[in-house]
Amino acid sequence: MHGYIKTGNSQPAWLFPFVVIVVLILSVLPLARLAMVGIAAFADGGVMTVLGEASLWSTTYYTVVTAILGTVISLVIGCLFAFLLTLTDIRAKGLLSFFFVLPMMIPPQVTALAWVQMSGPSSPLLKALHIAPPLGSPQPLYSVGGIALLYGVQHAPLVYLALRAGLMTLPRDGVEAARLSGASSLRVFRDIILPLSLPGIIAGAAISFVSCTGNFGIPAILGIPASIFTLPTLIFTKFSAFTSRTFGDVAVLSAIIAVISVVGLMIQDRALRGRDYRVIGLSGASAAFELGIWRFAFTPLVWVILFFMLAAPFFALLAGALVPAYGVPLTFKTMSLHAFEEILFRQAVTRTAFINSLSLAGATALCLLVVTVLAAYALTRRKDVVSRIVSSLIEIPYSLPGIVMAVSFILVFAAPIPILHVSLYGTIWIILIAYFSSFFAVSLKPVVSAFHQLDPALEEAARLSGAGFFRRLADIIVPLIAPAAGASVILVFLIACNELTISALLWSAGTQTLGVAIYNLDDSGSSDLASALSVLVVLMVVVLMLLLELLAKRLPKGVVPWRG
């Protein structure tokens, strides 16, 4: 009979298979290809040659050491801010939180560039202030310590967010009960809060470690001049000196990064075992502690840290962008907007980079939104094993370092696509597809949480009113999840616009992104132009974050990362 369907399920029959196919193409295909090439390299003995190189072991050592040191630094800063901003009555929490999360959103190569401009003998800012070290003294950041320090700064917000999420659900009545039992503030902190926040700290450490392992921008700018290579920068240089063995080599190197990440996550899993403290009772530990006299110690401390994390590097960057030419001292007389003119109006390379990055980020955000609305619908309405597997497959490309995904996509598209005989390698499309894969999870998260908040009866009422699938989508579902969809678009745009790791491997002439342009300008010695471009990028990040802040009131909890 006409019109009957197999099940009472609200989804059209094509929907779930569509989602599965998208996930297969974006997640499974590239990683399977990477695994295949790795196994092939094993079979023909290529692995042995790679593993036999002394440079590989020093690289792996540097990768692990910088990542561990970076994680420790990010833990110290992240925990300090999380505890102070979540549990105490420190003033201007919203503002502090916004500023503290900013470094996470700023591209790592910009952070690195800014810090280089802030320190060392040729810093325009220090020279303008007449406190620069004497010429000829070494740049202190071109070292393992420098890389680790910047890792720490870049990833401290990750620790902060992970810990804060845990602290927000801390039982307020539990704290009050401890107080009534006679415990002092310090004892409450040590006996109640610290044990309960351990899972958040562990999770934050793991995310920070994995991000450090996969970071490309910071070791590229700080490490390469000092010949300190990490695995991502080694992959990058292998691609620059392309040989017949390159594919096999980078597959093995990517596999090592993946293994280090997985080991990090396994240690986290191990550490979290037996620490599943489901919080019972009233949650929401708002201002559990009054700072009292300590306010005069902590308030300056957090602002000083923020000054060195944000303001000083930004002013250094600005100073670097305003010097008329390299080496010229910066004064109010010599200051010029020449570099901005150059990158905005004269240099074809930076203009192309702007167009490429904006259109790539826009296309990624919007196309992904269409897919994620359908995927979120399909995944929240089905609650079986298959949908859980699909959800975790979407997560994998985002949790793996970007460089691994970039290598995987190169391996997939290095040869022309069979049947179609189209070659994507070297075109902008390969970057777009890699972005789709890497940022799928970013796009999906806000939309899924909006769907979870949606009362299913709202859609059922529309069904009984006679509305078919697309009608319901247009009239009921999309208007109701619109704020989350907006947040998803802005978040993806923000991250994709600033991305360097993937495009650094996938770009070719004419398809460079902003991240690549900044790196190349700096690499070729035009640090004034690189700084000017970075300043514009930072301003763009701040504007987009403010946009999200404006949207925040209408969004489900947890969609805007820095808001409670």
């Binding site: 197999k6 099940t7 009472g8 009362d455 009866a457 059922e460 009422a461 009113s465 509305a467 109701l480």
Partner: protein
Amino acid sequence: MARLILNQLGKDFGSGRAAVSGFSLEVREGGFLALLGPSGCGKTTVLRMIAGFETPSDGSIHLGERLLADAAQSLPPEKRNMAMVFQSYALWPHMSVADNVGYPLKVRGISGEVYRAKVRDALGTVRLADYAERRPADLSGGQRQRVALARCLVTSPDVVLLDEPLANLDRHLKQEMEETFREFHERSGATMIYVTHDQSEAMALATDIAVMSEGRLLQVAPPAEIYARPEGRVVGGLIGRGAIVTLPRPFGDGRALDWPALEPIFAAAAGAASGDRVDVLVRPEDVVSGENIAAGEGIAATVESVLFEGERYALKLALADSQVLRAYTRFPVRTGDSLRLSVRAAWRL
């Protein structure tokens, strides 16, 4: 419009225990059926299968000659011409009251003056004509409820489903809404199915009551009938506030028992603990206590608890063999007092 027929309906969510099984029921055209049962008994599942949100794993649902669903195929809800009032009301927060009510018309392609007239009519019926441009968020609970009802009114659905629509309202508002539902049923003539766990709601509204427990249908009958002649312990315990006592089997086949029939078996119950016993339902309004029972006559009982209900006192009484009876009195008694009782009428389950 036509009869709604549920035939041997079953639903298994794969949890091992079927949520609904062997459920057969016919709702006559224009009938108002209350589906009554404790929470978790499967009544909402039955409702959702009728609406088409769930597919039966067994049996079939017909509306007149038309098959709505069986284990192999199912007509999607959007093609069933039904309407539903949800427990959460399910009003769309981004639309005005008028847009909410008019949405089913809009989907059916009705527009212009016809559309506006129908929406105005529907809102008038639930006395919300002045609220057309408001947002649902600006309305009170009862008003939201009436918007949801107007949305059902606006098209002429074959079946209107109501899923515990009064569960979130206070007692005063409940009575007002019961009135509205009854009016609505009389005016529209639609077949209505009303899911509730509140027996007084079911009694007040429905032309028929179907009692469910653990996924099975126990009894279907008009309210007065089901109150007077319940089948089995579960229905007897669920309908009204009666007490069920176990007594020796009375003489004869009659199930309606009067005092002459009851007196000997109550007396015998205190003595012999074994033998052929049956369950007897005793309603509190049939229990008579007081001074007009001479000493040595009637049944001896002790007051276990007294609850003042305003117009009367509700007593919980313990018999000699510690079985419990309930009774009402006009005058206060104290816990621990001894009383003599007689029982005017009772029903053998």
